[in-house]
Symmetry: C2
Subunit: 341 residues, 2 copies
């Protein structure tokens, strides 16, 4: 391995001078600098980050911890985070928590020993707070994206769940739907709580009653929704929902699969809309009506805020950035069957 000593010897200077050249110290004569740079090139010298980090306590490593990179929403978010990280000279360590607070905690433990400079996180739930305390204790800043964990005061970039939910409900009501079901994520996750609260408010605003039987809680990654959906569609005709709002793209897609298994046509028999676009590639055969959250921007902005924290360029008080969604109306929503009689 080539070290500064090798370079120093070749350039006939002290190791410290080499260090100064690497770090672009201004107090180096042009002549010496050129001499050292030549030696560096000749020897193909690359500074050892481990040694530097040992002194500086900074690694230029950041981590992004998300539930699952396979979900197109998080894929886009990841791409945004990576782009910003690279721009600022940080490298991105990727971790999937699979919506498990345990796996997330394990991962954070790993990060602690890797010495990451910061963590961008879509927490698996409020149970994340314990692991996050360890980060705080070690002075590793973190920022929430998409979701937050209760009990941690830190920067966050989140979607406007109230507004978005309201607009989705508005869309369905404007089509003529009066009984709308919500298939939600676990209430341990902030976005599920916010979406439920906004759902109730939206129903009230539309002067529709709230029927607890039309709200079902499942997991954001649950793929078999047949039982849940059957429960909804086998309600008495006057209680049965004519539209289903799914709290994320996974639930949306799997709701449609379940409806198909139950021989119900979307949107003829029942309408479906969801949060987050399941389509990864600009549309060619899109089906689901969705509230498309700006996932790329969430990742990008979240990383930007994290970098500001790491570089102590942010005010002490936690900041909140709220991003709006686009409602994209596609084929999965239409007027309810009754209004078409």
């Amino acid at each position: 391995m080539v070290t500064i000593y090798d370079v120093a010897k070749k350039a006939n200077v002290s190791p410290m001078t080499v260090s100064r050249v690497i770090n672009r110290s201004p107090s180096i004569s042009e002549k010496t600098r050129l001499k050292v740079e030549a030696a560096i090139r000749e020897l193909d010298y690359i500074p050892n980050k481990q040694a530097r980090s040992l002194i500086s306590k900074a690694t230029r490593l950041v981590s992004l911890v998300i539930p699952d990179i396979s979900n197109p929403f998080f894929t886009r978010l990841t791409r945004g985070a990576e782009d910003k990280a690279l721009e600022a000279g940080y490298q991105l360590l990727l971790g999937n928590s699979d919506e498990s607070a345990d796996k997330e905690a394990q991962y954070i433990e790993l990060l602690l020993s890797s010495g990451v400079d910061g963590v961008l996180l879509a927490p698996a739930g409020d149970g994340s707070a314990a692991a996050l305390n360890k980060l705080t204790k070690r002075g590793v800043p973190f920022v929430f994206v998409d979701r937050i964990a209760e009990g941690a005061a830190c920067d966050r970039v989140i979607g406007d769940n109230a507004d978005t939910t309201g607009r989705l409900v508005r869309h369905l009501v404007s089509l003529g739907h009066r009984r709308i079901a919500l298939v939600n994520g676990p209430s341990s996750i902030s976005i599920a709580r916010e979406r439920l609260a906004a759902f109730r408010e939206a129903l009230q605003r539309e002067e529709l009653g709230f029927d607890p039987a039309l709200v079902i809680e499942t997991h954001f990654k649950q793929d078999n929704l047949e039982d849940i959906v059957r429960q909804l569609v086998t309600l008495a005709p006057e209680a049965r929902p004519t539209a289903i709002l799914a709290a994320n793209n996974f639930i949306g897609v799997n709701t449609i699969r379940a409806l198909r298994q139950l021989d119900l046509a979307v949107p003829e028999d029942i309408s479906v809309a969801c949060f987050d676009d399941p389509e990864p590639i600009p549309e060619y055969n899109p089906f689901l009506t969705v509230a498309a959250q700006p996932a790329y921007e969430m990742g990008y902005k979240g990383m930007q805020m994290l970098i500001e924290r790491m570089e102590r360029a942010a005010p002490d008080a936690p900041r909140t950035v709220v991003l709006a969604s686009d409602i994209i109306v596609r084929r999965s929503t239409a007027a309810p069957p009754s209004s078409r009689l």
Copy 2:
């Protein structure tokens, strides 16, 4: 920061003893071990990886360099790679090359100074070889996934392009197609070359002539394919293709978009099939007929081979693993218009 010295003092032993406990050295008395472990827990001590790496020359960091995480094929591949890495105690550094050899080279430069133990790579093209030489020179092993760069003898996990192309062509021919176009990726990328060669062989096997006008080279990330597609569909009726084979999911999807813009219906007017499924989530409204490559397995197996290299548990000779695809017939392919008259 808590160091082994702090732990040593608290446990009334020497730092070396603490080091032995951390590293599970067998030559430690049960009693001492317990004492040290208690001190570690009390002080919330976490070993500093930078210091360890400085001595061991290993970082337990691996990198995955792919063209674009946004492509569902690479998303799945990434998930496979991450799962295997975590299993083996490695952390994954993610890099997007955007199909640019320059960006890839820059990224590899970064990796070199980060001291990654190995790199899993879907090279942007044959131009990658130069950057890869630097890895070789520094003794950093790398493994190819999905694609290879000419001029580097290393392990690889690739798809069976010959067989897959043959089966896709077979499918189209069996529907009655006689004139099939290939919209391919750049010939600087191995999979594009292999798919073209296999395409020619398949046509020959099916006793169809090869028409160079029906092969068009574009980029795997090009999103506006209108000109290219127009060029194909405005050929004289007897020369016009009745089916288009797209060399990846992006090209497939954008071919369909372009056809739509040209007011051509798929599959009524023209059939389309492609490599790699553009669907990220188990089917709910799939349209494109595809050759689904086992992306997750590619990532997983590739990472496994890389780990074997890093840990010197592999034979010297480069290994090649070839994985087969599934042909999934969906709605975008049907009999050609002529046969339906």
